[in-house]
Amino acid sequence: MESLGNKLSTLLAIAWLLPLFGFVVEVFAMSWPNANRKSKAAAYFAIFCIGFGFVCSSIAFYEWGEGTDWAAFKAVDHGHSEVANAAEHGEHAATGHDDHEHKAATHETPKRTVFSGTFYNLAQFGNLKLSLDYYIDSLTLAMFVMVTLIATCIHIFATGYMAEELVDDYVDHQVHTHDGGHFHRPGRFYKFFSYMSLFCFAMLGLVLAGNIFQVFIFWELVGICSYLLIGFYVERHSASTAANKAFIVNRVGDFGFIIGLMILWTSFGTFSFDDQHEVDGNVNKVTAGLFTMVRGHDGHLDRSSDGQTVLLKNEQDVNGEWHVRKESDPGRKTITYTLLIVAGLGVFGGCVGKSAQFPLQTWLPDAMEGPTPVSALVHSATMVAAGVYLAGRFYPMFVPEVLLTIAYVGCITAFVGATIAIVATDIKKVLAYSTISQLGYMMLGLGVGGWGAGLFHLVTHACFKSLMFLCSGSVIAGCHHEQEMTKMGGLLRKMPITALTMLVGVMAIAGLAIPGTSIAFSGYHSKDAILATALAYTKLNPIHFLLFLVPLLTAGITSFYMFRLWFYTFLGKPRDQHLHEHVHESPWEMTGPLLLLAVLAAGCAIGGEDGKLFKMLTFSEPVGVGQGVDGAAAHTVSLPGHAAIHASHSTAGSAALLAAFIGMSISYLVYGKGVINPADIKRQAASVHAFLANKWGFDDLYDVMFVKPAHVVAKFAAAIDKFVFDEILHTFVRMGIAVSKWDRKFDEGVIDGIVNLMGNSTYSLGISLRNVQTGKIRQYVTFIAVSVVTLFVLLFALYPKG
């Protein structure tokens, strides 16, 4: 196991650091001799780096599978083959399903394999150790393979999409200069790829991170990459504003993140996820990591008798199991339950900002100002999913109250995003709101206890959403940077590959499947998993029934607006004839990735919850999730176990499929067939449309709540500065000037007078003494002789008797 850990960490470290190397090389690309803005070398180098990273990740995956004997895939599905153990899992029986579906998950689940360790120790302040760690489990591996694969596809796509930057003089038609012309600048092809490489490095570092502080470092690094890439067309006012907005809104979430970090450090004394092994001489010292302290080996939360304090397990017995220290032990650590909630909410606050969750979702649509490959990679597939990833990674630290918050935030986000997407007409904006909505889905899945479901959706969503963004990029490139769907239409014949691959993506996100068979698009499986979990959750906690109904409704809406987008763009008659005539299919380096991603989008989740992807992800599910949590015991809510979730599958699955078909049908009727005129609906529900088109008024609300007050405060501060501090300073300066004037008079009159007097007297004395210097030697000798005689005479006169 030791050697396997070393092998994995080395392979993943190579995959992680290669893009950094690529970034360093590319960022100096224009300094090379023979540098040429028309060369695609930077792109090829970036593709090599990330592609080699994909190879390394795949090898790591294979090695991991061989090393663990493919235990993950052999894992028996908990729902089918388990012998009932009602005594141990009584709460599942309460759901009313027959016994053979329940099982003691802990007994049968293969042991989670986690490889953790330290690459490099950055610094140590007292007990606070800041280091570059790694934490490798099946989730890490799945993320690595997914991120590197999608990033490779998008890099290849970008070589075609960004080809217009391969000029020495790029004319930006969206920026107008004062004299009415367009803005000219050198092409920035290599710069784009250097940013992309830096982003890949940061994203992979985030996934590989072994402690929460390291996560924070790379969290901020992906943030700055996002900032740079959104602002790629920095001369466009909208782009620079959007970059600022994304960065500032994320700061709000990171503020919570930092609060969470401080609480964690104060209470736990470590940032590390996993236990830390230190070899101190011959003694092998093991320090408990965060997860161990909270959950121990069985996922159980130890609380004091009044339930106000959580006892941390930081003592290891001879069997390697962790226990709470005795009360008399000075090393005993505790944390109040409230503080643990606050810490969880704080870290989740960071996820809210990064994953564009309600109420910080406003930055993501604006971020579509960046080039389309950026939207595909950063703002749909990977970076925004990092929030979900962190919530999943940090899952053991979340108590059910926090999970409830997560669920509601996700639920609201999903609904809000979906509704706005209905009225959006910009093709990328539709996809952006769709992304927000789907990220809400993932959060919801995590919040209702579906750890595997949320992350399952993360992976499938990454596939089909990056596909759709790339398709939209292909459309935009084909339509000469026209993004308004109202000007498109009938593009199916002009760009068939793009249209068909887009259709695959649309069907995947809508979650279509053939009823009665196991043939389904990936979105169906992951959404089904989430909805099943939500259904099981509402069965346990009937008061939270909205957590099932709203996502179900959202599933229908999703299907509706995605097909709306497809019908609008590819079917019907061309709305802008001039534009339509110049449309062309994209070159192979753009369509190739589309085809590959289409295959992935359709089939990556084959088998659903019995499929390899889901099994692989749930292999590293935190301990204790499988049994669920009985709310009656200590918590305000209960969480469903695997068995309960499985029981809800058929119901939730058919409901979701039904919703999707309804949404698709309505969409076909309205936009495909034209039975109902959308303009009529728009007129009849004008206020609703305006409300949605105004994005639920969030931007206006924030403007009134934060921006305007900030301006008022700033003006007030400026006034204080100007009229108080400046005045004080001016008074001081005036006083200084007055004093200087007096000082000058004193200087000129007295000091200079004294000095001049001395100088003049010395000068006149010198003039008079000058006459003595005759230059005649004999005279000098005479002087000497006279002087000696005089001295002797004086001597005799003063000391007559010797």
Binding site: T782, A785, V786, V789, F792, F796
Partner: protein, 235 residues
């Protein structure tokens, strides 16, 4: 009146007369001749004072070397009309006045000291331990024969001080001291064993001797450089 006294008075007179002539004469050549007279007489006075080596050196270096050099200077510079350069009578009177006062002061200082009397400087005390002659040829200064002690002093050996040579009657640990120089042992024939403790030695003149040697060399080069043939300034 011994011959010594007669000689003294004779050469004292010659010395003074020569010096006055040097001061009074206006002719450079005569001055040079008078200087020869003065310096030669001084050398005889040195001999009378027991400084035989210094007297000889005075004759050789001064009279034979330096003065010849001066005469050369006279010949090279004081050609024709410039042989006599008269000084003004006012200068002469002023200088003479100063000279007389100066001489008066010095002479009164010299005569004010009582060299022989009860309260004056006691010659015998002043002569100290060097009053007696010793076997081996090391005479006190008073008895002349100073060549060897001088030569040794230039080698940093102070035979006149460190060899306490005494009368045979005196015998004590003190008188048995022999000069002990680290690394060098001077063993005089028929002299006593080494002392029990080293005796601090007087300082010699080796280093000044070396410095003067180098100095002479530098002066030689410098003088040659200064006096080399140059183009004359155009008149």
């Amino acid at each position: 009146m011994t011959a010594e006294i007669i000689l003294f008075w004779l050469f004292a007179f010659l010395t003074c007369a020569g010096a006055i002539m040097v001061a009074a004469s206006q002719n450079v050549v005569r001055m040079a001749f008078s200087l020869v007279l003065t310096l030669g007489s001084t050398a005889v006075l040195f001999l009378l004072l027991g400084a035989d080596f210094v007297g000889a050196t005075q004759l050789l270096v001064y009279v034979g070397g330096t003065l010849v050099l001066l005469v050369f200077g006279v010949m090279l510079t004081a050609t024709g009309p410039f042989t006599r350069i008269k000084s003004s009578p006012a200068d002469a009177i002023l200088s003479g006045l100063i000279g007389v006062v100066f001489l008066f002061i010095v002479a009164s200082t010299v005569t004010a000291v009582n060299w022989d009397g009860e309260n004056g400087i006691d010659q015998k005390i002043a002569m100290g331990a060097h009053a007696k002659a010793v076997e081996g040829g090391f005479n006190p200064t008073q008895q002349g024969n100073t060549t060897r002690p001088l030569g040794l002093s230039f080698l940093s050996l102070r035979a006149d001080r460190d060899l306490k040579l005494d009368l045979p009657k005196e015998s004590s640990a003190e008188t048995n001291t022999a000069p002990v120089v680290p690394g060098v042992s001077v063993v005089m024939p028929g002299v006593m064993p080494p002392p029990k403790s080293p005796v601090p030695l007087s300082t010699g003149y080796l280093l000044p001797f070396e410095i003067v040697s180098v100095h002479l060399l530098v002066v030689l080069v410098g003088a040659a450089y200064l006096a080399r043939t140059k183009r004359r300034a155009t008149t």
